[in-house]
């Protein structure tokens, strides 16, 4: 319920329309309500007195009022859509902005899949519910109240009948809603489960095909599908059972009117025309009540979606900017880690990094080596504040990075992440991603340095070649080179290459290194590598083991001092690894 109210704030900019819509509906309803009365007049006065003129005039009046009512109804539609589409678009935008503001930590926690569903499915559900509310919820209560009043006015003697019937209907509705709501929530959960299977199959299609697991996946899906179907059937049958109950109520009510009305007519206290009109109004009242109850159920369904949306809107980003954060920076590029401890869930015991201290001077190249999961990526992620340290601090030119706004910081840091993600669009746009105002010459220069220029020119459309979803039409090595070019183009003060040449062959990598050496003179580089060949000429090599720095030095000094390093070199470069020893 609270979530619904929270989301209702998105209706505020449209409150003029939101108020107008029901009023317009009122107009249509009012017109509808006059009809039985006019019919009554025709029957009781026109026909009974043989007054043709009256009949004709009333008939024309009915026509006129109907036209006005139609206008009212159509305008209500326009007004209602303004609200629903407007608020819906706003809500989607707010959600998207929120997602953009979340940090890596949030994303790990929430999962990108569920976030996508929130943005799409859940927003649509909420929209539908709002729509129902503005159109039909406006209509039905008015109609109900209006016809009830008219009914009582028409035949006061029969007032008790509609009241009793309404009471019965309300009880039925409440019972049904109480049973149906949890069933619908469960249905939504099963729907989510099904969607997850589908999404995984889409993303892992290569895997499924490679292992020829289509049948297995079909079974998995089939199971989830079956469960969903069963749940949906149960939920809907429960809510649908309401209708026959109400039908009986209504119809028995009519019989009641005829009987009691007939008695009154026999006594001479009522006229036939009154009965007819009363029946009409009663039917309208009760049917409107039925519509209202259907709305209540719709609402309950949308409530679940509202909760999920609110959950996202209420999440706090793990990494936030201080209000007085620096927004201007011209760093020379001195990166220092001062006794840094870091763990993904914030407490020291599960720490991924422990007591890390080192300095990278401007223009230096620092290489990080280590076993899988030793913490290399985590270390470099702390520099652009993808995550914040648990203890200690990371400084850039002596300034604690937490004192700088994330955007400013990242503008001066170029990153090629472990998984090179490209977006659909031209190659040129992808390279320019970090700095869209770069000139074409700069783009080409960056591509050349990353050894990407040649293969780009190999495409018929060169830099204007359009990449598909996630850059699927490139090989792994090509993607990585584009990612490097992208990072270079930013002209960063700090360059981070996270295992970014793993898919590139040795020779090409060598050329990239050469080109980068030129570029990297102007910036501090942190390179995570698996190949020793990458780090041979680094100014400083850090060997990480289980979250700590196990050894530090240059290639030469480490060969002498570190057995771990020697072992790594031997396995990669073959025996007699050091030129000196030959």
């Amino acid at each position: 319920m609270r979530s619904a109210l929270r989301l209702a704030t998105y209706l505020k900019p449209y409150r003029k329309w939101a108020l107008l819509a029901p009023l317009l509906m009122l107009l249509e309803v009012a017109m509808d309500l006059t009809q039985p009365r006019l019919i009554q007049r025709i029957v009781d006065e026109g026909i009974a007195q043989g007054d043709m003129n009256l009949v004709l005039r009333t008939g024309l009046l009915m026509l006129g009022l109907a036209a006005i009512g139609a206008l009212g109804g159509m305008s209500n539609g326009v007004a209602a859509e303004q609200v629903v589409q407007g608020a819906g678009a706003d809500l989607r935008e707010a959600l998207f902005r929120k997602v953009q503001s979340l940090s890596f930590g949030n994303l790990d926690h929430l999962g990108t899949g569920p976030l996508v569903t929130r943005l799409t499915n859940d927003v649509t559900q909420t929209q539908e519910a709002t729509m129902m509310m503005l159109r039909m919820a406006a209509r039905s209560p008015f109609l109900m109240a209006g016809s009830l009043i008219m009914a009582i006015l028409t035949s006061p003697q029969l007032t008790y009948l509609p009241l009793v019937l309404i009471l019965v209907e309300v009880i039925v509705v409440m019972l049904v809603v109480r049973r149906a709501t949890p069933l619908f929530t469960q249905m939504q959960t099963r729907l989510d489960a099904l969607n997850e299977v589908m999404q995984e199959n889409l993303a892992g299609v290569r895997l499924v095909k490679a292992f020829a697991r289509a049948d297995h996946e079909q079974e998995r899906f089939g199971g989830a599908n079956e469960r969903l179907a069963w749940q949906a059937i149960t939920a809907m049958r429960t809510s649908a059972s309401m209708f026959p109950f109400m039908m009986i109520t209504v119809n028995l009510g009519v019989v009641g009117v005829l009987w009691f009305g007939g008695v009154e007519v026999t006594r001479g206290t009522m006229q036939v025309g009154q009965i007819i009109a009363f029946v009409n109004y009663l039917l309208t009242t009760l049917f409107s009540l039925m519509m209202v109850s259907q709305l209540v159920i719709q609402f309950a369904r949308a409530g679940a979606s509202a909760n999920r949306i609110a959950e996202v809107l209420d999440s706090e980003p793990w990494v936030q900017d201080r209000p007085d954060a620096l927004r201007e920076l011209t760093p020379r590029g001195r990166v220092a880690f001062e006794d840094v401890t870091f763990g993904y869930d914030g407490n020291g015991s599960e720490a991924v990094l422990r007591g890390i201290s080192f300095v990278a001077e401007p223009g230096e190249t620092v290489a990080l080596l280590g076993t899988t999961g030793a913490g290399k990526s985590s270390l470099v992620h702390l520099i652009p504040r993808f995550y914040d340290v648990t203890e200690g601090r990371v400084t850039l030119d002596g300034v604690d990075v937490r004192d700088v706004s994330q955007e400013t910081l990242r503008r001066h840091i170029g990153v090629a992440l472990q998984e090179a993600v490209l977006f659909s669009g031209t190659i040129r746009d992808n390279i320019r991603y970090g700095r869209p105002e770069a000139t074409d010459d700069e783009v080409v220069a960056a591509a050349k340095a990353a050894q990407a220029h040649d293969f780009i020119m190999g495409f018929p459309e060169g830099y204007d070649t359009i990449l598909g979803q996630r850059g699927v039409n490139l090989s792994g090595g090509q993607k990585q080179r584009l990612a490097i070019a992208r990072a270079l183009l930013v002209k960063p003060a700090v360059l981070i290459l996270d295992d970014s040449t793993s898919a590139v062959d040795v020779e090409t990598e060598g050329k990239i290194q050469e080109a980068l050496e030129e570029q990297m003179k102007h910036c501090t580089s942190l390179v995570i590598a698996q190949r020793v060949s990458t780090v041979l000429s680094a100014d400083k090599i850090l060997i990480l083991d289980d979250g700590r720095i196990a050894a530090e030095g240059t290639h030469e000094t480490l060969l002498k001092a570190s057995p771990i390093y020697r072992e790594i070199c031997e396995s990669q470069l073959g025996n007699g690894v050091n030129g000196h020893e030959q």
Binding site: V43, N195, M198, H216, I233, L417, S475, D499, T508, L536
Partner: protein, 621 residues
């Protein structure tokens, strides 16, 4: 040196996508735009939807029966009411009225019971139909070739699988039975009106043509707009999916604002398109209502005239009016359904579009495959992902059973493509690939793929436990066998250090592990599947050097007796290969062993030497 020789032949290792509309994330889905024209076939779509429901023949019959009973029974109401007024109330005949009242009550009970039964059955029918549609859709997706997935926006596909199917589900549930009973009501009402008073009935039907006109007019404009809405929604989904899953990169380059801008553009477009469609569709209700009232006015007016002239009784007119009102309700129900129906149709069209895509099928005479020795031959294979852009050019190679073949060369040269062809993710343009002498195209794809073990560059893991992920390699494997495979892949020790060991649930795509760890799991998975032929696509390049050493040993054990193709960049991994094939520009330019190639001092030699950049080579050559 090598790059300048590449040219267009090795331009792409994966198929290029057809042009998207504009340089932004989540470009329009390709190829499906053109179907917009032929989708005006609403009748065809409805027919297909109907065929899904028709599968449940007897329940449908039941529904029809109960619809008839309940509609007829409930429509007797006005008729009996007319009698009540004319015969009993006007004549002050209370006992007679009482008898009639009981009859009416009985009638209503029957009506309500049948209405309940009808809905009860219909819901089952509709939801099962939707379940079948989902199932068929999923099955079709599984059988589509890889090419399809490489060229489509995932967001749009998901939108079809979820949003569009949901649309259909919503309307099938309530829509159909309401439609049925509404249509039936109308028919019965008209029949009863004719029975009561032909003149009045005919007069009241005067407005019918007007109603048809209104419906057709609106329909013509509304449906294409709903389709546009769904398409735009699919586009928005594409953006959302791409940027949210690539969120790390967006943040790394501080591109949040720009991404938001792109989103807002499509969002605004969706808003205006949706509004147009729905406002227009929303006109149906009020307009039909008005037409209904016009009819009522005419009826009452005419009825009054006739009554005044003594040609009709008051009771008959009251009945008539009551019937006319009963016409109003089903009509407005149809109008209300209308908007939903249009939306559902648009959704159904997109679903069926997907279902109509060409699946990858085995040749009709494809044979199942028994145990293989593992002789692999490529015979002058030519292939390109796209017309006119060849990637492999007359490539021929042969591997005897049990040999280890190393494929080296610059990226994009065609090595991954060979893997794609061996697994028949794609088929050759000319030439042939033979396994034990049999052309792979003559064999069932699934059988072929099960004999191959593939470790890719990018290894997908499910959001499931580590144990289940490894077990994916061989579903019948026991827990011990899984752990043994993990031990062989050197993954066991790090798995045991995870919070819940083998029962640790991986987050989506296995993102709570490092790349190297994921690779080890993938290798364990392949080990478990015990294939006859191994294809390792740069498998070990993400694993750190220490672990790699152990892994090398394990892989050596695994590769013993199995034909293996290793696509690697690490020269240290291929030193022990039986054959080294150097691939460049889509051709095999050098063949031999590591030593013999070094002696040639050709391309390979230079590749090897470049690893040392200025330092002396370890091997004396």
């Amino acid at each position: 040196m090598s790059n300048s020789r590449q040219g267009t032949s090795s331009a792409a290792a994966r198929p290029p996508a057809r042009p998207a509309m504009g340089p932004r994330p989540g470009g329009r889905p390709m190829g499906m735009m053109r179907h917009g024209e032929k989708s005006k076939d609403a009748r065809g779509t409805l027919l297909r939807l109907w065929r899904y429901m028709r599968r449940q023949r007897w329940p449908l019959v039941g529904v029809a029966v109960f619809v008839v009973i309940s509609t007829v029974a409930s429509l007797l109401g006005p008729y009996l009411m007319g009698i009540a007024i004319d015969r009993y109330i006007t004549n002050h005949d209370l006992p007679g009225l009482a008898r009639l009242a009981w009859l009416m009550i009985a009638c209503h009970l029957v009506a309500a019971a049948s209405a309940w039964l009808q809905t009860y059955i219909m819901i089952g029918v509709a939801q099962r139909a939707v379940r079948d549609i989902r199932s068929d859709l999923f099955a079709r997706m599984q059988s589509l070739p890889l090419r399809f997935f490489d060229q489509r926006s995932h967001g749009d596909l998901m939108s079809r699988l979820t949003n569009d199917v949901d649309n259909v589900s919503m309307i099938l549930g309530n829509g159909v039975s309401q439609l049925l009973s509404s249509v039936l009501s109308i028919i019965v009402v008209i029949a009863m009106m004719l029975a009561l008073n032909v003149r009045l009935a005919l007069v009241s039907l005067v407005v019918a043509p007007l109603m048809f006109l209104v419906t057709r007019y609106i329909a013509r404009y509304v449906r294409p707009r709903f389709r546009q809405t769904q398409e735009t929604l699919g586009e928005l989904n594409g953006i959302i999916e791409e940027t949210v899953t690539g969120q790390h990169t967006v943040k790394a380059f501080a591109r949040e604002e720009v991404t938001i801008g792109q989103f807002c553009e499509v969002n605004a477009r969706l808003k205006s398109v949706a509004m147009r469609a729905r406002v227009l569709a929303g006109f149906m209700g009020p307009l039909m209502n008005m037409v209904n009232h016009i009819g009522l006015a005419i009826v009452v007016g005419t009825g009054g005239l006739l009554a005044v002239q003594g040609l009709a009784t008051v009771g008959a007119i009251a009945s008539f009016i009551s019937y006319y009102n009963r016409l109003g309700r089903p009509l407005s129900q149809i109008a209300n359904l209308y908007s939903g129906l249009q939306s559902a149709l648009a959704g159904a069209e997109r679903v069926f579009e997907l279902m109509d895509e060409e699946p990858e099928v085995d040749a009709p005479d494809a044979r199942p495959m028994e145990h293989t020795n593992g002789d692999v031959t490529l015979d002058r294979v030519c292939f390109g992902y796209e017309e006119g852009v060849p990637v492999l050019n007359e490539v021929s190679l042969h591997a005897d059973a049990g040999q280890m073949i190393a494929l080296v060369g610059p990226t994009g040269a065609g090595k991954t493509t060979i893997a794609n062809l061996l697994t028949r993710f794609y088929d050759v343009d000319s030439g042939a690939i033979r396994l034990d002498g049999t052309d792979v195209r003559a064999v069932r794809k699934d059988d072929l793929r099960r004999k191959l073990g593939l470790v890719l560059q990018d290894n997908f893991l499910f959001a499931d436990t580590v144990m289940e992920n490894i077990r994916y390699g061989r579903l019948e494997a026991t827990d011990e066998e899984v752990m043994a495979a993990a031990a062989m892949a050197n993954a066991d020790h790090f798995i045991r250090r995870l919070p819940k060991g083998y029962q640790t649930v991986l987050s989506e795509r296995g993102s709570n592990l490092s790349q190297g760890q994921r690779q080890l799991l993938a290798i364990a998975r392949v080990i478990l599947s015990d294939p006859d032929i191994l294809i390792l696509d740069e498998a070990t390049s993400n694993v750190d050097t220490r672990t790699e050493k152990h892994l090398q040993e394990a892989l050596m054990r695994l590769m013993a007796g199995r034909t293996s193709f290793v696509i690697a960049h690490r020269l240290s991994t291929i030193r022990d290969a039986d054959q080294v094939l150097v691939i460049n520009g889509g051709e095999i330019i050098e063949r031999g062993t590591h030593k013999s190639l070094l002696a040639q001092r050709g391309f390979y030699y230079h590749l090897y030497a470049s690893q040392f950049r200025g330092q002396a080579l370890p091997e004396a050559v």
